[in-house]
Symmetry: C2
Subunit: 212 residues, 2 copies
C-alpha cells in the first residue's frame, strides 16, 4: 500500500513544521501559538513537532535563526566615516526589514516579546548582545550601554509603527525620507553628548530641573 501521509523521515516535513511555526509565532505571538496549532497548520501530528524540535521554547529558538549574520551588519556599520554611522545603522535596519524572511522573524520576536517574559529576555539579549551593544561600543567609550538602548528604542519604535501598528504616513514612507528623519537621532544617541543642554537651532533642550 502506498504511503501518502507525512512520516518522520519525509524530506520536507521538518521544513513544513518550521514554516508553520514561523507563521503561527509571527501571527499569534509565542504565548498563544500552541504546538498543537503549529502541528495542525503543518499537517502533522504534534508528537512529530516534539520529535524534531523538542519543547515550544526550543522550537522558537530554532525558528528565530535569522537569515542574516548580525556580525556582518555590525562590521559594515562600524566601517567608514564615524559621523555617518547613524545613517548606516538606519539603512542597514531598513534593508533587513525589507527582506521578507528576516521581517517575519523580527515580527515574530516583537509580537512574542511583549506578551512573554522568556521571549522578552531573548529579545533583550539578541538586541543588546549581538547588535546594538557592539555598535555602541564601537562608536563611543562613553556609556555605550545607554547609547545602545537609546538607539534600540528608536528603531524598535519605528518597526512597531511601520510594521505592526501601521501608522501612516510613516508606514509607507520611502527609505530616503526615513534615513533623513532618523539618522540624526541615531547618530546623536551613538556619538553625541547625551547631557547636552543645547542642540541644533531647532532643538534647544532640557533645562536642568529636579524630577522623579
Amino acid at each position: 500500500m502506498a504511503r501518502t501521509g507525512r512520516r518522520p523521515g519525509d524530506s520536507g516535513t521538518r521544513e513544513a513544521i518550521l514554516l508553520a511555526a514561523r507563521q503561527r509565532f509571527a501571527d499569534a505571538g509565542y504565548r498563544a501559538a500552541s504546538i498543537r496549532s503549529i502541528a495542525t497548520r503543518a499537517g502533522v501530528d504534534p508528537a512529530l513537532v516534539h520529535h524534531y524540535f523538542g519543547t515550544k521554547r526550543d522550537l522558537f529558538a530554532t525558528v528565530l535563526q535569522l537569515p542574516i549574520d548580525p556580525d556582518v551588519i555590525v562590521q559594515a556599520v562600524l566601517a567608514g566615516d564615524a559621523v555617518r554611522v547613524g545613517e548606516r545603522v538606519v539603512r542597514s535596519f531598513l534593508t533587513v526589514w525589507d527582506e521578507a524572511r528576516a521581517r517575519d522573524r523580527m515580527l515574530m520576536l516583537l509580537r512574542s516579546a511583549v506578551t512573554d517574559d522568556h521571549v522578552a529576555r531573548m529579545m533583550r539579549e539578541f538586541v543588546l548582545d549581538t547588535v546594538f551593544g557592539p555598535i555602541a561600543r564601537g562608536c563611543s567609550p562613553d556609556e555605550p550601554e545607554l547609547r545602545a538602548t537609546l538607539a534600540a528604542s528608536q528603531l524598535l519604535g519605528f518597526a512597531m509603527v511601520r510594521f505592526v501598528i501601521c501608522m501612516e504616513p510613516l508606514a509607507s514612507a520611502p527609505h530616503d525620507r526615513l534615513v533623513a528623519a532618523y539618522a540624526p537621532s541615531i547618530q546623536r544617541y551613538l556619538t553625541g553628548d547625551l547631557t547636552a543642554r543645547r542642540g541644533t537651532r531647532a532643538a534647544l533642550v532640557a533645562r536642568p530641573q529636579a524630577n522623579g
Copy 2:
C-alpha cells in the same frame, strides 16, 4: 438562606470585573484574554461580564478609558516656548507612564495592539487623533502627519524598551537623563527640517542616495 455569592446588583461586582479585565488584558493582551478567564479572576460567572459590558471588544474599550484627559496634555505641551516643545512632550509622557493606572492601560494597549488588528486600529486612532496629531499640527504646518508618527515612534519605542522589554540601563534611567536624551529628537521631529543633510556637529546625516 443567606446569599454569599456575587449577584448582578452587588456594588463592587462591576469594579471587580473591570479590575480583572484590566489585569488580564495587560498581562496576556487582547487576543489571549478570554471573557472566561476574566470572569474567573473576578470570581463571577462569564454571563455577568457580558451582562455588564457586552462583548470582549466593548469591555476592552471601557477598560481603556484613561484616567487622564489627553486634551489637557496636548494644551499643556503646546503652551509655552516653541523651542522647548520636545522637552515638554517627553516630560508629559514620563509623567503619564509614572501614574500606575495610566501605565496599566498603556501596557494593555501596547500588548494587545501587537497581536490584534482591531486593537492596533484603536491604538492608531488614539495615538494620532487625540495625542500626537494635535501636538504636531500645533507645532508645524509642514507635514504634521509625518511628524506625529515620527514622534510617536520614538516614544512608543521608549515605552517598549523601558516597560515591556526592560532593557537596562534605559529601563531605570532617571527622568532628567531621559529628557536630555530624547527631547532633541522629539523637538526635531516636531519642528525641525526633516530633509536636512546636516545636523549638529555630532550628527551629520543622510547623503542623497537612491534606494528602495
